[in-house]
């Protein structure tokens, strides 16, 4: 094998990552790699450019990838996003917002959604101290609390997130006594677990290494322009599909029939294929299993063997030298050589990482130019291990450190051997190493010193790479990089034989699937959003092929998304890019848009996924409902039956006591009339006269009574927008919420005892201007006094209760019991109608209320 006769000059330093002392010569500019030192012996140094291999431009045929197959029947949900996990809003004194996992919200959501899980054990323990139905029973040995009254006090209000929620004394007592028990056990145990889970999800969101290597492969068929795409499908990615694809002479792929499939018992994470000595093999990695198939000449897969990996498999690779040989890595740090005939042979085991300590259990292995030597990699470096040598020994091929001028925090994401591709490999000893920042090419004969380094600047983790054979002999080899977010880079590698490998021409970025949005017709917002989400789905597989004997050399690229969509794009070799030619912009062909339209039709037929979150159903409603709600329901049903029997419209009065939805507050005519009058005047050109009239009207003796009115007008404008708001409170500052916690309660301003509200002494401290307003307001309050009128009209009671501010409950604490009961009764009935209207309603339908005392 030839070794480059002269390597590019590189400084060699040893040390840890991020050692910034000294110039980084390797990655200063991308064009620097294109520079060749003049060869003095060839006497061509006047024109040093001569030895540069041709690096033609691969030009995408369409502005974005096109769907190859119709969308699968399973709905897809993007899952957890950063918004779900992170704390909203930064800390104000920080210059930059900081990422904080929102454990509090997640915990409270968990308690809402899975209250049975969270509280059931405790509930069981405390069962004998509570009674669900009936009055409280007396026992001398222990206290028994009646849950019913507690729930009645809650009255269907959800204090969660509502600053105006208030508590009865009973609830307060209960929460003070029960809080430490309930709070510590649930928050303590659950909170820890939840935090762990959240941290895990967050890490997964930042980097999901399960699909490293890619879950799609291309098995070449018998004819030069046909082959099979192998990829997982189905909602759980457990259906391994084999899709026949034929490439037309012009370079367009066409699917042939429906894909054949094999059902597996786990999600497919990686699909690898290789043809060694005329024998095509297919290896699949799932979370805890690996499987090997042989693909017959007719393209039928024949199962060979399945392997169970107890700790979880992280990588699988097929030998390019010997048919049926694989390397399998496990989370435990073990790397095994696997052959169906001889079984497993452990070649490396180290739970620790290679260079420095890193918690990631990710391991990777690949083959080298020597069939008995493997590379073993983890996040910190890559080692060359001889399977026949003594265990544990080997040379470091790549070290996350100063040798490769690595940055602080840089980690290996993928290591791949670039040998064994095509008839004349570039350098069979060359290895590609990808980190989140850069790409490195390392020769196993010169370990530790990268021959090439390039900063890829990909906006997500690069987990897929493929070196392709050159389009024409003598051309540079395309090297494709794919990131999880669907971003693609195409590099061209030149240099074979005695010249060192280098980049030929500037790297290119290829369109990603989100660029295809322009090919779809504009949809109504919800479907448009769904389409957008679908196109943005993370990439889990990438494979490319250069079909031979096409009219112009073409590069076909297939991309598999987490939603199970297979998109493809075709790149054409731009013949002889002249000096003045600029990259022409591709446009959508009618066929492409038709295909997109067809696919979209299929997508919209797929039912949307069930929402991840649904409003909780409160169990206490079920408890209470059986007692008190029956009557209303009964009457409604009777009314409905009667109306049906008579064949007439169902009127409200037929429904009896069913709480009617409150009619939206009608806008008060004041401001609009004024506005209309003003606009009309302005339209007729008499704006000045109108203004004078206004001015004149407001001046003089009439001015004083006007002021409260104007305030009313203003507040009514708000009230028409935000529900009901008391006019007198419109200008007052928002009330400080009285929370469930005793600390919050103690912080609330000291208020006059509510019982005294009905008496006059309070009035002395109120400015005379506001006294009347307040008196009016209090007169309007239905529960203000224990008037018998309140009892007599249950229907009006119910509707007014719905609108009663929860703040008034606090005012009513300790006063007569009867209004409270009425209150809760209505509240429960109202709440049952709310329960169906989703999660946002509880706080929305309970309009923020001001307590009258805040007007002081």
């Amino acid at each position: 094998m030839d070794f480059p006769s002269s390597l590019p000059p590189t400084l060699f330093r040893t040390g840890p990552l991020g050692l910034s002392n000294g110039p980084d010569l390797s990655s200063t500019c991308s064009w620097r790699d294109a520079l060749a030192l003049p060869e003095p012996l060839a006497q061509s140094y006047q024109k040093g450019v001569s030895c540069v291999a041709t690096a033609p431009l691969w030009e995408p045929e369409t502005p974005g990838p096109i769907p190859l197959l119709p969308p699968g029947p399973d709905p897809w949900d993007p899952g957890v996003t950063a918004q779900d996990l992170l704390f909203r809003g930064g800390v104000s004194f920080r210059r930059k917002p900081q990422a904080v996992l929102d454990v509090t919200e997640q915990l409270s959501r968990f308690l809402w959604d899975h209250g049975d899980v969270a509280f059931a054990p405790l509930g069981k323990l405390m069962l004998e101290n509570f009674r669900l139905e009936g009055a409280r029973s007396l026992s001398k040995t222990k206290t028994v609390v009646s849950v019913k009254s507690l729930l009645q006090d809650l009255g269907g209000h959800q204090p969660w997130g509502c600053p105006w929620a208030s508590l009865s004394f009973r609830q307060r007592r209960f929460s003070i006594l029960g809080g430490p028990v309930l709070g510590t056990s649930v928050a303590g145990i659950l909170g820890e677990l939840l935090h762990e889970e959240l941290a895990l999800r967050w890490e997964q969101l930042l980097l999901d290494d399960a699909f490293t290597g890619g879950a799609m492969a291309w098995v070449p068929g018998r004819a030069p322009r046909e082959g099979q795409l192998v990829f997982p499908a189905g909602g759980a990615l457990d259906k391994l599909c084999f899709q026949q694809v034929i490439v037309s002479p012009s370079g367009d792929p066409r699917t042939l029939g429906d894909p054949g499939h094999i059902w597996l018992r786990g999600p497919v994470r990686q699909v690898v294929t290789r043809t060694v000595q005329g024998e095509s093999l297919l290896a699949v990695r799932s979370d805890y299993h690996c499987a090997l198939w042989k693909v017959s000449k007719q393209g039928r897969p024949v199962p060979l063997q399945v392997l169970q990996v107890g700790k979880g498999a992280t990588g699988i690779s097929l030998s390019p030298h010997l048919p049926g040989e694989l390397a399998v890595c496990s989370r435990s740090g073990t790397v095994c050589l696997w052959t169906p005939q001889d079984g497993l042979q452990q070649i490396y085991k180290d739970p620790e990482t290679l260079v420095f300590r890193d918690p990631s259990p990710w391991r990777w292995a690949d083959f080298t130019a020597h069939p008995r030597v493997l590379t073993v990699g983890d996040r910190t470096g890559v080692k060359i291990v001889d399977t026949q040598g003594p265990p544990g020994c080997g040379l470091l091929l790549f070290r996350g450190g100063a040798e490769a001028a690595c940055q602080k925090g840089e980690r290996v994401l993928l290591a791949q051997c670039l040998g064994g591709c095509g008839p004349e490999p570039l350098h069979p000893t060359l290895h590609l190493i990808l980190t989140q920042f850069s790409l490195y090419l390392v020769d196993e004969r010169l370990p530790l010193v990268p021959l090439l380094k390039w900063e890829h600047e990909l906006p997500s983790a690069p987990l897929f790479a493929q070196l392709l054979p050159p389009a024409r002999p003598g051309h540079a080899r395309p090297l494709l990089l794919g990131a999880q977010g669907g971003d693609l880079r195409l590099l061209q590698l030149a240099g074979a034989g005695t010249s060192a490998p280098r980049l030929a021409g500037p790297p290119q970025s290829l369109p990603s699937s989100s660029d295809s949005l322009s090919a779809f017709p504009l949809l109504e917002p919800k479907s448009q959003w769904r389409l957008q989400e679908r196109l943005k789905a993370p990439t889990i597989g990438l494979v490319a092929t250069v079909p031979s004997s096409t009219s112009t050399p073409a590069l076909l690229l297939f991309q598999l998304s987490a939603a199970g969509d297979v998109f493809h794009q075709c790149l054409r070799l731009q013949e002889d890019p002249g000096p003045d030619s600029r990259a022409p912009t591709a446009s959508w062909s009618p066929q492409a848009t038709a295909r997109c339209g067809h696919w979209l039709k299929g997508l919209l037929e797929v039912p949307s996924p069930p929402p991840v979150w649904t409003a909780p159903a409160f169990s206490h409603r079920r408890v209470l409902g059986c007692v008190e709600q029956r009557q209303g329901e009964q009457r409604g049903l009777e009314g409905l039956r009667a109306a049906m029997a008579e064949g007439r419209l169902l009127l409200r009065r037929d429904l009896g006591a069913v709480p009617s939805a409150e009619p939206p507050p009608a806008p008060e005519p004041g401001p609009e009339d004024e506005l209309r009058a003003r606009l009309e005047a302005a339209w007729e050109g008499r704006a000045a006269a109108w203004w004078e009239r206004q001015q004149g009207g407001s001046s003089g003796p009439g001015r004083r009574p006007k002021r409260p009115k104007r305030r009313t007008q203003l507040s009514s404008t708000f009230s028409s927008l935000s529900g009901r708001l008391d006019p007198s409170d419109a200008t007052s500052p928002p009330p400080s919420p009285r929370r469930a916690s005793p600390e919050a309660g103690s912080q609330a301003p000291v208020t006059p005892p509510p019982q005294k509200l009905t008496q006059e002494p309070w009035a002395q401290r109120v400015p005379s201007e506001r006294r009347q307003t307040l008196r009016d307001y209090m007169a309007k309050l239905p529960l203000q006094a224990d008037t018998p009128g309140g009892v007599s009209s249950p229907l009006s009671q119910a509707s007014s209760v719905q609108a009663t501010p929860s703040g008034q409950q606090a005012l009513q604490e300790g006063s007569a019991k009867q209004p409270i009961r009425r209150h809760t009764l209505g509240g429960a009935a109202v709440a049952s109608s709310q329960a169906s209207s989703g999660r946002a309603t509880p706080s929305g339908s309970q309009p923020p209320r001001k307590r009258p005392r805040m007007g002081f």
């Binding site: 110039p23 450019v49 069939p371 925090g409 000893t429 990259a583």
Partner: protein, 430 residues
């Protein structure tokens, strides 16, 4: 006052970055972390409009570059220059490097750019901030060399060589050494050109003497330039090669040997196969004893058993009188054929067939056995499968014959070595 506030800002951004980056808990940095945070953060201080526009502009430039839209990139670059007036000193200080990196790339590929534009840009950028002078000068010189402007490059390097700023830091020293080395390389180019001319002259000519004298003079100067860098650990193949060539020409064999020995055997240097190759070639030219050559190649064999020189190494070992050299000769041949890139090397197969016969005749079966033991479970599948038998026979008959010969000896009927079905099929197929 302004300095002070900038100082505060800088320290704050630094640790904020740290916090938001290390957040993952594993110590891994995620360049895409900020994107996630930005999607969530609604409160807190937002970036100023200025910072937003510049960072957006930077994004556009990068995108245009990756899409090969050089004109577009140039347009954005024009706007991006506003970053030089950023009030954030951290950004302002980092800006020239980014501008140089992206700007030079645009000018390198832009269809309407010419050398003059590039030169003006480079000269401007050199003087923008003191930290980048050396780096940009070096890259500028490389650009000029690539375009064949050797004199201009030389002038550039000479100017940079004398440049000093503040205390001489180690990174500055390395850069200056590199600059000097490249200057030395340029001098070497002119020297080798003169050497070519000289070879055309008659040795008794008067002109020959003066010419050789000036050449000596020249190489002395170059040695000063190249010497310093070669002491620094690294891969310096082009420099070492030219330096040794000049030293040899001047008759300084000891100097050349020292340089090469140092380059090959210094512990601080990476194990560069070329260092040993250069040393071997030098010793060969010097007509060093066979023992010496073998010892050099022995080390190369340990680093790169698949090297082209291994066949030469085998020849040397075969000719040697020592018994263990003969054994090593067999090992080397097997070692070469282990590699995927060497399977079709007909010379290696020819040597192996011949040597195996010799070994088996010479009653060294144990040696063959020893080598074969570690290979018997994979060589038959790797070399002697029916697939290769067929394809070799179709593509390269002599190779197939040699392989069949070896297979016959290793696996054949009469062989006392372990036999295999595949091997037999290979032999019979061949």
């Amino acid at each position: 006052m302004s300095d002070f506030s900038e100082e505060l800002i800088r320290s704050k951004t630094e640790d904020d970055q740290e916090e938001s980056c290390v957040f993952s808990g594993t110590g891994m940095y995620f360049p895409w972390l900020q994107k996630h945070i930005d999607a969530v953060a609604t409160e807190g201080k937002k970036e100023k409009d200025f910072a937003q526009t510049t960072s957006a502009c930077l994004g556009f430039i990068r995108e245009a570059l990756l899409k090969h839209r050089w004109q577009e990139a140039a347009g954005y670059m024009h706007s991006y220059l506003q970053v030089l007036e950023d009030s954030d000193s951290q950004k302002r200080l980092g800006a020239p490097e980014i501008i140089w990196k992206l700007g030079s790339e645009i000018l390198f590929y832009h269809p309407k750019s010419n050398m003059e534009t590039f030169n003006t840009f480079a000269d401007r950028m050199k003087n923008m901030g003191v930290m980048n002078y050396l780096k940009i000068s070096l890259q500028h010189a490389l650009y000029l060399m690539h375009h064949g402007m050797l004199e201009e490059a030389n002038r550039n390097l000479s100017r940079a060589e004398t440049w000093r700023y503040g205390e001489k830091s180690s990174s500055q020293e390395v850069l200056i050494n590199l600059i000097q080395a490249y200057k030395g390389l340029l001098q070497y180019y002119t020297w080798s050109k003169k050497k070519m001319e000289l070879s055309n002259l008659d040795k008794d000519d008067y002109a020959y003497n003066t010419a050789s004298r000036t050449m000596l003079n020249h190489s002395w100067k170059t040695s000063v330039n190249l010497g310093a860098l070669i002491q620094t650990p690294g891969v310096w193949d082009p420099f070492v090669k030219s330096y040794v060539e000049m030293l040899e020409f001047c008759g300084d064999q000891d100097g050349a040997r020292e340089v090469l020995n140092n380059y090959a055997y210094d512990e601080k240097f990476p194990s560069n196969p070329n260092a040993h190759v250069y040393l071997y070639n030098f010793l060969k030219r010097e007509k060093a004893p066979r023992e010496k050559l073998i010892s050099v190649l022995k080390i190369l064999y340990q680093i790169v058993p698949s090297h082209k020189l291994m066949l030469e190494f085998h020849r040397l070992l075969r000719k040697s009188e020592k018994e263990d050299h003969h054994k090593l000769g067999l090992e080397v041949l097997f070692g070469v054929l282990d590699f995927a890139g060497c399977t079709k090397n007909i010379t290696a197969w020819k040597y192996l067939a011949k040597y195996l016969r010799q070994m088996l005749m010479g009653d060294h079966l144990a040696w063959v056995q020893e080598e074969w033991n570690s290979r018997k479970n994979w060589w038959p599948r790797f070399h002697f499968s029916s697939f290769w038998a067929k394809s070799d026979w179709q593509e390269d008959k002599p190779l197939a014959c040699e392989k069949a010969l070896v297979a016959g000896m290793l696996l054949g009927k009469g062989s006392r070595l372990a036999s295999s079905d595949r091997g037999k099929t290979f032999v019979t197929a061949a």
